[in-house]
């Protein structure tokens, strides 16, 4: 590109070097052109300003939510202190609030869901991205996976309660734990289904973006399809795949309706993954409307703050891991 000027060819990169014709018509034309470019500059400025404001608004919004959560949970922080985080009792009658059972329930159900969902979402991503990117069947599969994300969560909840819970109860009688049916395990299964599309569609577009020369070179060296996927596609896309998994984890952490219908909603600490429990989002949704004491209401908002912070921390850790991956 540097050589273009030397060769006497004017390209788009050399616009400042534009020569103006000095005949009257030429000057007139140039003036018109100059006028237009002023307008263009103005449009440019307005556009840039809009973008800046929009971007800042997003930051303000997030900070505003954080600030509101902090201000509203001050009464609870004042009366309960840090003990709130590891307190094991949630007793609205005596104004004792401990978030530990719900924190544990949230993390347990979300990570379990993630572990269950990863094989499926990876398989769908590889299948659609590498093996069959085009055709009616992959299209159908792609739409079906996207539809999973579009189904309202309350429908998953009802389906889980009516279909999944009896199956899980059957399973529990066979393996000898208390046959309750509802519990952490059931909610993890529902969550796993709900979060598959997030990791799958991001993974699919990442895999499709792998440069074909890379893959062709590997094929040229005699690699099989599996070997290409293992040693070219997956290493090339791992940060993207991980970002998709992180996205689905965020979804699992915040899911409320479907979880509350199948998790059993008890504030006792879950003894195993089949035991009933509760999550932070579910407690907030359940108890917010009837929280009739200031400290109670504030403790619920503090639960929201904890959930917010947990999500932020997990995202930061995820970002760090992605950075590590891409720097390698």
């Amino acid at each position: 590109m540097d050589t273009s000027v030397e060769k006497g060819i004017v390209t788009r990169n050399d616009l400042p070097l534009r020569v103006i014709n000095s005949t009257p018509e030429g000057i007139f034309k140039a003036k018109r052109r100059v006028k237009r470019s002023f307008r263009q500059i103005r449009t440019e400025t307005v556009f840039r300003r809009t973008l800046t404001i929009m971007g800042l608004l997003m930051i303000i919004l997030v900070l505003g939510i954080l600030l509101t959560l902090i201000i509203q949970s001050l009464p609870s922080i004042k009366s309960l202190g840090l003990k709130y985080l590891w307190g094991k009792v949630w007793d609205p009658v005596q104004d004792i609030y401990g978030a530990w059972p719900f924190l544990l329930g949230t993390l347990l159900s979300s990570f379990l869901a993630l572990i269950i969902s990863i094989p499926f979402s990876l398989a769908v991503a590889v299948f659609l991205g590498e093996y069959f990117p085009k055709g009616w069947m992959p299209d159908f599969l792609k739409n079906a996976v996207e539809l999973i994300a579009a189904v309202p969560s309350v429908i998953y909840g009802f389906w889980g309660l009516a279909v999944l819970v009896p199956i899980v109860r059957n399973l529990e009688t066979h393996i000898g734990v208390e046959p309750v049916g509802v519990g952490i395990f059931s909610s993890s299964l529902i969550l796993a289904i709900m979060i598959i599309p997030y990791a799958a569609s991001l993974g699919r577009s990442m895999i499709q973006m792998v440069p074909s020369p890379l893959k062709e070179a590997a094929y040229g060296l005699g690699a099989t399809r599996w070997e290409v996927i293992r040693s070219v596609v997956l290493p090339y896309t791992k940060s993207g795949l991980f970002a998709g998994i992180l996205l689905s984890l965020g979804r699992a952490l915040g899911e409320t309706m479907a979880v509350t219908m199948v998790i059993g909603n008890t504030s006792l600490i879950p003894k195993n993954i089949f035991a009933p429990g509760n999550t932070m989002a579910s407690v907030i949704a359940n108890e917010f409307t009837e929280a009739d004491k200031p400290v109670y209401l504030s403790a619920l908002i503090e639960l929201g703050l904890v959930l917010f912070l947990v999500t932020v921390v997990i995202n930061l850790i995820g970002k760090k891991i992605i950075d590590r991956f891409t720097n390698e």
Partner: protein, 368 residues
């Protein structure tokens, strides 16, 4: 570059200004935002707004729509839950609140002016169970019920239960307790009853719209609890009477204070409310002295400010509100039965009348 920086600065200034105003309004809480909201600022003087109990909602929609046919007054009722209704009334964003529990001490101290409670209907909490082989109606006594929910009775063939149900063959199934996971007036009535009849319950758990359950599973709403009960053999859970009747669920007979086993029904709930009611009507109908009354029942109240002149409300608006409420506790009661609500007892209606007459506008009574 300088231009750039300037733009950025002005953008920051604009956004900061916007955020500033936004934060002030949320930080200031409801009391400031309430003053310019619906109740006073509503230009439409023919629409009253109310908020609160979800339990009252089906009855209110029927009663208010009937009243609209007669008087043309529109009522916009939002069923956001009793606690929410009290909060909205505290913030003066609604004309009336509705609650399944009277205001507690903390709520009373948070509100700026005295509030009066008008009983509008009564409901009952029944115990639904799932015992496929038991055809007779199960009988329960207060002690046994408390022991079941405390988790000390764990099997259906426990001697304490079989002693009450002579001649009924109860299975050795484990008892699974289903309770509400959401805060609710139903829970409040149920736990108030248990706290009244059982010392253990009162000290270990207490009463409230949400409590720390010693055992069992939580279901969201009546449908959540009845879903758990229907699905699990050996389950027992508490549900609103209206919901249980509409869904044909088996429910237990409860022993009342006089020792009779009473089947929950509209009649037995009205009977439970036919007692001496204190002038402020803030009374729990659980375990009353009525011989044929069902023991686990409770009033639902409409809450309004005693002094109706606040936030530039007009006398017209206050009069409309009180006429509506007066109609609700008299003529409005005829719609209760069909919707499985218990009509107010004569004692409750006369107390309600006296309370409505005590409401004032600028110090003068509104209803004559």
């Amino acid at each position: 570059m300088k231009m750039n920086l300037l733009n950025l600065k002005s953008a920051v200034a604009i956004v900061a200004l916007m955020a500033g105003t936004g934060l002030v309004s949320c930080g200031g809480g409801g009391s400031t935002s309430g003053s310019d909201s619906t109740a006073s600022g509503n230009s439409d003087d023919n629409t009253l707004t109310g908020a609160g109990s979800t339990f009252d909602y089906p009855l209110f929609s029927k009663v208010f729509s009937e009243y609209n046919k007669i008087n043309g007054l529109k009522v916009n009722y939002q069923s956001i839950g009793s606690g929410g209704g009290i909060l909205q009334l505290t913030n003066k964003t609604v004309d009336f609140g509705a609650s399944d529990a009277p205001m507690n001490g903390k709520q009373d101290s948070g509100i700026s002016a005295p509030v009066i409670h008008i009983p509008v209907t009564a409901g009952a909490v029944v115990l639904g169970y799932n015992l496929p082989d038991v055809k007779d109606t199960l009988k329960l006594s207060p002690d046994v019920l408390a022991d079941i929910f405390l988790g000390t009775i764990t099997k259906w063939n426990d001697p304490k239960i079989t002693a009450l149900n002579k001649g009924v063959k109860l299975p050795a199934t484990a008892i699974l307790i289903a309770h509400r996971s959401d805060g609710s007036g139903t829970t409040n009535i149920f736990t108030t009853y248990l706290a009244k009849v059982s010392k253990d319950w009162n000290t270990k758990v207490g009463k409230g719209s949400a409590v720390n359950w010693p055992a069992g599973l939580g279901g969201k709403g009546n449908e959540g609890v009845s879903g758990l009960v229907k699905q699990t053999p050996g389950a027992i859970g508490y549900i609103e009477l209206a919901y249980a009747v509409q869904n044909n669920m088996a429910f237990a007979k409860m022993q009342n204070k006089t020792g009779n086993f009473i089947t929950p029904s509209i009649a037995s709930v009205t009977a439970a409310a036919n007692i001496t009611i204190p002038p402020d009507s803030k009374v729990s109908l659980t375990n009353t002295d009525a011989a044929d009354g069902y023991p686990i029942s409770g009033f639902s109240w409409v809450l309004i400010y005693k002094e109706q002149k606040y936030n530039n409300r007009s006398l017209d608006r206050a009069t409309k509100l009180l006429k509506l409420l007066s109609w609700t506790i008299h003529d409005g009661q005829q719609f209760s039965g069909a919707l499985n609500y218990a009509p107010l007892s004569p004692a409750a209606v006369s107390v309600g009348d006296a309370i409505l007459k005590s409401a004032t506008y600028d110090g003068k009574p509104i209803l004559q």
